[in-house]
Amino acid sequence: MIEAINQILNGLQLGSVYALIALGYTMVYGIIRLINFAHGDVFMVGAFVAFFSTASWGLPFYIAVPLSMAVCAVLGVTIERLAYRPLRYQARIAALISAIGVSLFIEYGTSLKFVFGPNFRVVPRPFNVAQWDVGGVQFSNIQVIVLVTVVVLLTALQYMVTRTKMGKAMRAVSFDHDAARLMGINVDAIISYTFALGSALAAAGGVLYSAAYPQINPFMGIMPGLKAFTAAVLGGIGNIPGAMLGSLIMGEVDVLSAAYLSSRLRDVFSFSILILVLLIKPSGLLGKAGPEKV
């Protein structure tokens, strides 16, 4: 029984980590309906910038995190400007291919020796790991920090999107670009803003991820990015609470199937559940069915 609780806590941590990435994914998707494959790579860049600023330049952690978020926000906006905007009114697949190109470009570019280099680097943790044991139930400060961060981010995002003027503009753009423009909304600016926000979130995710799993390399973004995206789809892509819910489910399924079914087949279980959920509810758990084209 105690072990089961421990496993559920493990799943919670993994799910929260997925959620860190999935939130950014889902925001960008919600507004321009683009699977931004480069998101996982922005996440990687965020982790690297934080690593270099603390380990190489000796900056304190509370400066390194905002710095890496700022760098990634600029990176995200640049990617959007150069690689996605020219394709905005083309078929969506064009932008998707461009996103794959950007993703490969960042991965191979940063693994060049004079950029980040290909090595796996051990990341020094910004704080000591503390482990608590309450009647056999174990948890660590990392789990707490990751979980709290995710909940704070989720609440803040939700507030921003539903209560602020900017959020209203974002929702308007996501409904209909043209109508939004007619209402006097600067669509380009809103999209840039969304990318900046999503990329800054990815950077924060990258920093926390490398605190939880202290190792970074230029290809580290692929798998977490993929799992997070899958989680976002599971929850209903474009929907912020959905991304959170999907991530938590993915995390739990991953951990519990590895623990109680078969560690070899854990990916089989998690993706089977994804397919099953989509078959029962084709737009994801919290997603609304998209408008049919008539």
Binding site: E3, F120, V122, Q138, Y213, Q215, V255, A258, A259, S263
Partner: protein
């Protein structure tokens, strides 16, 4: 008949270089005695760092033998080499090996690094009668497939069954372990093999493997299985993966309160290992950098001087593989693959990783050493002879 202009353009762009290249192919050396060596190693892709180490060590060995990328001579034999990237992809590996053999006309290939690519390449080199020496492909199938010895393929490393057995014996006899858990990468035959042979030997010696689990290539979270293992309290946690993965697993295992002694294989040997997380762990390796033998000390110091880091297992074995070929050239004074093959099969090589003598399968018979991770350093513990 309207051909879109763009198509014409694409055709030109693709075909001209193709034809041009195939025309001018055929290796640079005009000398009939020239030995052309090809290196196949992953210089890009997921195990790029392995490829870099391999390339560095190859260049160092060649340089010491008097051959640079502009060519040179070993004894009376002029030597040239070409380095190619296989991206750790079997298909690419076959393409590249075919290119080296049919276009550059190499007589010998060093490589590749992982077993899957090396096995694929061995099926190209053997029909073409090109000598192949791999540094680190440890799977038995590299040299023997379906009971048939691939006569032109050799390696510098010991094979998985030997290393797994050495690890198990060390756990039983020296660490007095009774129980063990194994954790390996299901998509990597190297780790699958080590875990399997470790288990066989460990259980034959009276121990018990209480838990076996695996993970995917890109997993970073091992909490589920580690929580399980923590509950079972084994004496040993056998982690036969490369340094990147075991660093992550080690840290998380201690976080879950696992007190077991970590034990692993040569994949641990790297200065990028997380020494703090793996402190107290033991691993089987090809050599110890503290070994006073001159081969070891010269290699470690020259490598360090040239590349600024301590050579890892991949570099060491690539250095040995290259030197096996070089000494074959030295003794035979020939570029004939048949003669080189004969020498490699019968000769004895005094290498950094010990004295290498190949058995009938082309697998080296050599000693393994046990090292311990202690206070941020590798400490020599024991030598195990086969």
């Amino acid at each position: 008949m309207r051909f879109p202009r763009l198509f014409a353009l694409v055709a030109i762009v693709v075909l001209i270089p193709a034809v041009a290249l195939s025309g001018c192919a055929g290796g640079g050396g005009k000398d009939k005695n020239t030995l052309r060596v090809g290196v196949v190693t992953p210089l890009t892709g997921d195990v790029k760092t392995f490829g870099e180490s391999t390339k560095n060590a190859f260049l160092l060995a060649m340089e010491q033998a008097g051959v640079t990328d502009k060519g040179g001579k070993i004894g009376n034999v002029p030597v040239e080499f070409t380095i190619m990237d296989d991206r750790n992809d079997a298909t690419e590996g076959v393409n590249v090996a075919t290119k080296l053999i049919s276009e550059t006309k190499v007589q010998a290939i060093i490589g590749s690094v992982t077993s899957k690519v090396t096995i694929a390449i061995s099926n190209v080199t053997n029909p073409a009668k090109v000598v192949q020496v791999t540094s680190t492909a440890t799977n038995p199938k590299v040299t023997v497939e379906d009971g048939k010895r691939k006569a032109f393929t050799f390696r510098a490393c010991f094979i998985d069954p030997f290393q797994g057995t050495v690890g198990a014996k060390f756990a039983l006899n020296n660490l007095k372990a009774k129980t063990a858990a194994t954790l390996y990468d299901q998509s990597n035959d190297y780790t699958v093999g080590l875990a399997q042979y470790f288990k066989e030997a460990f259980e034959k010696g009276g121990g018990k493997v209480v838990f076996e689990a695996s993970y995917g290539k890109d997993d970073t979270d091992f909490s589920a299985v580690l929580t399980k293992i923590a509950g079972l309290k084994p004496d040993i946690l056998y982690l036969p993966d490369y340094y990147q993965k075991v660093s992550l697993i080690g840290g998380q295992a201690r976080g879950k309160g696992i007190k077991a002694v970590f034990l692993g294989g040569d994949g641990w040997d790297s200065s990028d290992l997380d020494f703090k997380a793996m402190d107290g762990g033991y691993f089987t390796n090809h050599y110890s950098s503290d070994d006073p033998r001159p081969e070891v000390q010269t290699f470690v110091s020259t490598y360090k001087a040239k590349y600024g880091s301590v050579p890892d297992a991949l570099a060491t074995l690539a250095y040995d593989a290259t030197n096996m070929l070089i000494s074959a050239v030295k003794s035979t004074q020939s570029n004939d693959p048949e003669k080189l093959r004969e020498y490699l099969a019968s000769g004895t090589f005094s290498a950094v990783s010990g004295t290498i003598k190949n058995d009938a399968n082309g697998d080296p018979i050599k000693a393994a050493v046990i090292l311990q991770i202690k206070d941020g350093k590798q400490k020599y513990v024991a030598t195990v002879n086969p």
